[in-house]
C-alpha cells in the first residue's frame, strides 16, 4: 500500500536526537500504515546507519546515505525517494507531538497548493541564561506573528524544520537549492510564493524543538546568513530591499557603523576585536546588565552578518571593498524593473466588497479610498504573498487607522461615518 504522507528527516551525526525524533513518530495518532519515514543520513560517522539498520519501527522506514552534501540536498534526495503524495519535512532535533502528522494531512485536505508550517515550541538548553531567554523569545515571537488571522506571510516565515507540502508542488518549484548551506528554506519560500502557493500556520502540528544553538554558534550562523543573502539576492534581485544587506548605510549605532566598515576593509582586525567583545558579553551577563548585553550582542551579530556579506562579495571579481556592495545593489535594482500589480479599493462599496476584490485580483498592493477621500496606500512588500481578503482589516485597523477615521469623518457630513463628535477629528 502506498503511503499518503512521507516524513523526510535529514540528519548529520546526531544519532541520539534522531532516536528521540523517531520514537515520537511511533506515537502518532495518524495510522502507521499510511505514512513512511525517510531518513537521509548526510555524512554521518557516528553510527547513525547502524542504529537505523537495527531499528524496527511500526511504520515503513527508508534509510538513505549521502556523503555530507548539506541539508538542502539531503531533503531533495529524501523527497526524490519518497512514496507519499504529501511531503512532511522534519528536522532531526524535533520531537513530534502525537497529532503532528494528522494535523499536517488534514490541513491539506481540499486545499491544493498549500504549504503548512508547523509550530516548533523551543526547548532551550540553558533556559535561564540571557541567550537562552533571547532565543526562546525569538522563536515564539515568530510563531505568535503567524498565529494572527490576518498575517501576511513572507518567505521569511518558511521554516524547514516542520513543514509540509504536496510532492507535486515541491517538484514543480524545483526543490531546495543545494548550493545554499543556510537559508535554503527561505529561498524555497521565495519560489513557492512566486508560484502562488498559500502559506498557513498549524499550531496543532507541533513538535518540540530541542534547540542546541549556543551563543557562538549563533554568531557563526549570522556569518553564513550574510553569505546566503548575497547569493539569494543575486538570484532574486527584486527581494534585495527585504534583506538587511540593502541597509549598509543605516546602522543603528556608531559602533556598528565602524564595525561594518571594518568587516569590509580589514576583516582580520575586525575578527580580533569582535572576539574580544565576545568576552565582554560574558562579563556583562555575570553583572546582570541585560540591556547592555542585548545591545552588544546585536552589534556582534551585525558584524558577523556583514562579514559574511563582504566575504561572499569578495569572491566576485569586481572593484574594491564596499564598492562591490553598491554595484551589487545597483545591478539588482536595474534587473528588477517590472511594475507590481496594484488595484484600487473603494471602501464606500463596503468592506466585504473590497475583500472580495482582493481575493479575486490578489494584487501586490492597493490604493485605498473612501468615496472621494484618499485613505492611503498598501504598499507592495517584496517577498510577501499577494494581498488576500484577510489582510485588509488588520492593515486598516493599524497602519491606516488615522487616515481612515479622517475619511470616515469627512464622509459623515452625509451621514455615514461615526455618529458623534465628528467635527473634533479635524
Amino acid at each position: 500500500m502506498t503511503p499518503i504522507a512521507s516524513v523526510i528527516i535529514p540528519t548529520h551525526n546526531r544519532c541520539y536526537t534522531l532516536g528521540r525524533t523517531l520514537a515520537a513518530l511511533e506515537q502518532q495518532t495518524y495510522p502507521t500504515q499510511q505514512f513512511e519515514v525517510v531518513v537521509v543520513a548526510d555524512g554521518c560517522t557516528d553510527g547513525t546507519l547502524d542504529m537505523l539498520g537495527r531499528y524496527q519501527p511500526p511504520f515503513a522506514l527508508q534509510a538513505l546515505e549521502l556523503p555530507g552534501r548539506g541539508p538542502a540536498e539531503a531533503r531533495n534526495c529524501g523527497a526524490a525517494q519518497a512514496q507519499g503524495r504529501l511531503l512532511i519535512f522534519l528536522d532531526d532535533d524535533v520531537e513530534a507531538t502525537p497529532a503532528l502528522i494528522e494535523t499536517h494531512v488534514q490541513a491539506h485536505a481540499g486545499a491544493p497548493g498549500r504549504v503548512v508550517i508547523g509550530y516548533l515550541p523551543p526547548v532551550v538548553q540553558e533556559p535561564a541564561s540571557i541567550f537562552g531567554l533571547q532565543l526562546r523569545h525569538w522563536w515564539e515571537a515568530m510563531f505568535q506573528r503567524m498565529r494572527q488571522p490576518g498575517h501576511r506571510y513572507g518567505y521569511w516565515d518558511l521554516l524547514g524544520g516542520n513543514l509540509s507540502l504536496a510532492a507535486e508542488l515541491f517538484a514543480r518549484v524545483g526543490g531546495f537549492d543545494p548550493t545554499l548551506r543556510c537559508h535554503e528554506d527561505y529561498e524555497l519560500g521565495i519560489r513557492l510564493i512566486a508560484a502562488g502557493a498559500s502559506l498557513t500556520f498549524a499550531a496543532d502540528a507541533a513538535g518540540y524543538h530541542h534547540e542546541t544553538t549556543g551563543l557562538d554558534r549563533s554568531l557563526r550562523r549570522k556569518y553564513h546568513e550574510g553569505r546566503a543573502d548575497v547569493i539569494i539576492g543575486g538570484r532574486h534581485p527584486a527581494l534585495c530591499p527585504s534583506m538587511p544587506l540593502a541597509y549598509y548605510d543605516e546602522p543603528w549605532s556608531p559602533t556598528s557603523r565602524r564595525l561594518r566598515a571594518l568587516a569590509f576593509a580589514w576583516p582580520i582586525g575586525g575578527d580580533i576585536l569582535v572576539a574580544g567583545l565576545r568576552r565582554v558579553l560574558d562579563l556583562l551577563e555575570w553583572m546582570r546588565l541585560h540591556g547592555r548585553w542585548r545591545r552588544l550582542l546585536n552589534v556582534l551579530l551585525d558584524y558577523w552578518y556583514w562579514r559574511g556579506v563582504a566575504e561572499e562579495l569578495g569572491k566576485q571579481k569586481t572593484s574594491a571593498a564596499t564598492r562591490r556592495l553598491a554595484d551589487f545593489l545597483h545591478q539588482s535594482a536595474l534587473q528588477h524593473n517590472e511594475e507590481p500589480c496594484e488595484i484600487e479599493l473603494d471602501l464606500r462599496e463596503g468592506l466585504e466588497v473590497a475583500e472580495q476584490r482582493l481575493d479575486a485580483a490578489r494584487p501586490a498592493g492597493a490604493a485605498v479610498r473612501y468615496g472621494q477621500h484618499v485613505v492611503g496606500h498598501i504598499a507592495p512588500k517584496p517577498g510577501a504573498e499577494q494581498l488576500r481578503s484577510t489582510h485588509l482589516r488588520p492593515i486598516l485597523a493599524t497602519d491606516l487607522a488615522w487616515p481612515l477615521l479622517k475619511a470616515l469623518a469627512l464622509e459623515a457630513v452625509s451621514g455615514d461615518g461615526p455618529a458623534w463628535g465628528i467635527q473634533r477629528l479635524q
Partner: protein, 401 residues
C-alpha cells in the same frame, strides 16, 4: 469633597445626570460598546452633570482610544484575535482575611459573572473567627479553602496548587469584578508565552479624603491601552508598571515554570506588600510575557480612613525595598542600588521638595514620609520575614550570596 464614581456608555449618554448633593466632582469611566476607553474628572454643580458639554469633555478625556475603539467596531476587528482553539477555563481565587462584609459583596459580583464553567474558590487566610466560612457556606457555588499560615503570598500559592483549572484569576476581597472581567482576562492567554494577565482597577467609591488621595498617590489603574510586556520592553526590576495583584490572572503552570510566590513577601508578613510585583518581575526575567488589558476591569474599595491610607502607603514602601533586597542579596542583581537611587532622585525627592514648598498639587507630607520610612525598613523587614518563614517551615537558614 467626595467624588461620585460613574460608569457611562458613550453611545447612550443620558441627557442629564443627577448625583446626591454632597458630591462636587465626578470621576467618569467612559466605555464604547462596553469596552473601557478612558476616564474623566468633571465638576458637579448642584448635583447636576450633563448637557452638551459632557459629551465633549468625555471625548477629549478619552482621546485616541475612543476613536480607535470605534474604528475597530466599524471594521469588526479585534486587537486580540478570536482563535479556533477553545478559551481555557478558569478558577477565580479570592484570598481573604477577616473581612466578611467585603467578601460578601465580592462573591455576589463573582457569582453573577457569565458562567463559562469557572470554579470559585475562597482562600481563608489565618481567620480569627468563623465569619468567612459562614459567608462562603451561604453561597453554594464557592469552594472554601482554609490556609492557617498567615500571609497573602501563602494564600496565593495555596490557590494555585488547589485550583482545578488551568488559569487562576485573582480578585481582592475588597474588589468587585465587571461582568466581562473574566472573559477579558482569558482571551489573552492564547499566546503560550503569556503567563500572566493584569487588568484595570477603578475605585469603587471616592467618599473620603483618604480614598481620593489613594487614587492620586498610587492608583491601581495602568491606563486604557492594552500592552504586552516582556523583558525586551520593560526592566523586570521595575515590574510595578504592569499591574497589581488586586486584578491578575496567572497560568497555574507558573509554579513549575518560574516558581511560587515568595512567601516572605506581602500582606500578613513583616514586608506588607510586594509579592505580586516580585512575581511579575520573575515572570519577565524568565523570558515570559505579561499582558495588561484594560477590558479586564474591576472596582476596588480603597481604605476609608487616613490612618489606614498611611499604613498602606508605608506598606508599599516596605514592599518595594523588601523585593529589591531579595533581588540584590539572593539573586545578585547589582543594578538595584542604581534603580533605588533613580526612584529617590527623580520621584521621591522632588515630591518631597514640592510638599515642603507647598507647590500646586503637592502630595500630603505625611504620606511621602510614610513611604520613605517604609523604604528604610524594607530590607530589615524582608530579612526578618524570610528568617521567620524558614524557621517555621523547618528549612536550614540560607546565607545571602
Amino acid at each position: 469633597m467626595p467624588t461620585a464614581v460613574l460608569d457611562l456608555e458613550f453611545d447612550h449618554l443620558p441627557t442629564a445626570i443627577t448625583v446626591p448633593d454632597h458630591y462636587d466632582r465626578a470621576l467618569i469611566l467612559v466605555r464604547v460598546h462596553g469596552q473601557p476607553v478612558g476616564q474623566a474628572l468633571l465638576p458637579v454643580i448642584g448635583g447636576q452633570l450633563g448637557g452638551s458639554e459632557l459629551r465633549d469633555r468625555l471625548l477629549e478625556a478619552a482621546g485616541w482610544n475612543l476613536w480607535q475603539r470605534w474604528l475597530h467596531d466599524y471594521l469588526a476587528w479585534e486587537e486580540v484575535p478570536a482563535t479556533d482553539s477553545p478559551a481555557p477555563t478558569a478558577t477565580i481565587a479570592i484570598c481573604t482575611r477577616d473581612r466578611p462584609e467585603d467578601l460578601e459583596r465580592c462573591l455576589e459580583a463573582v457569582m453573577h459573572l457569565p458562567d463559562d464553567g469557572q470554579e470559585i474558590m475562597v482562600v481563608d487566610n489565618c481567620p480569627s473567627t468563623d465569619a468567612t466560612r459562614h459567608v462562603v457556606k451561604d453561597c453554594a457555588c464557592a469552594r472554601y479553602v482554609r490556609e492557617d499560615r498567615p500571609g497573602l503570598d501563602i494564600a496565593r500559592n495555596r490557590a494555585l496548587s488547589e485550583a482545578q483549572h488551568e488559569i487562576v484569576a485573582f480578585v481582592d476581597d475588597d474588589a468587585v469584578p465587571d461582568p466581562n472581567w473574566l472573559r477579558a482576562h482569558l482571551r489573552n492567554f492564547d499566546d503560550p508565552t503569556v503567563l500572566c494577565v493584569t487588568g484595570l482597577t477603578m475605585p469603587l467609591e471616592l467618599e473620603t479624603e483618604a480614598q481620593e488621595w489613594f487614587e492620586r498617590f498610587s492608583t491601581f489603574g495602568r491606563g486604557f491601552r492594552r500592552t504586552v510586556f516582556d523583558a525586551n520592553t520593560i526592566n523586570p526590576l521595575a515590574a510595578g508598571r504592569v499591574g497589581a495583584g488586586a486584578n491578575m490572572a496567572l497560568r497555574r503552570h507558573v509554579l513549575e515554570l518560574v516558581g511560587p510566590f515568595d512567601e516572605a513577601l506581602d500582606g500578613g508578613t513583616a514586608t506588607r506588600s510586594g509579592g505580586d510585583t516580585e512575581m511579575f518581575s520573575r515572570i519577565l526575567a524568565q523570558g515570559y510575557r505579561i499582558v495588561y488589558d484594560p477590558a479586564a476591569l474591576n472596582w476596588h474599595r480603597h481604605r476609608r480612613t487616613w490612618e489606614e491610607l498611611r499604613r498602606t502607603i508605608y506598606g508599599y514602601g516596605v514592599g518595594v525595598y523588601a523585593l529589591w533586597t531579595r533581588r540584590l542579596l539572593f539573586e545578585r542583581e547589582l543594578t538595584i542600588p542604581k534603580l533605588a537611587w533613580g526612584w529617590f532622585r527623580h520621584t521621591q525627592l522632588p515630591e518631597l521638595a514640592r510638599a515642603l514648598l507647598k507647590r500646586p498639587n503637592y502630595m500630603p507630607l505625611d504620606l511621602l514620609l510614610a513611604e520613605l520610612r517604609g523604604c528604610a525598613s524594607g530590607p530589615w523587614a524582608y530579612l526578618a520575614s524570610r528568617r521567620r518563614q524558614r524557621r517555621r517551615d523547618g528549612h536550614p537558614l540560607e546565607a545571602p550570596l
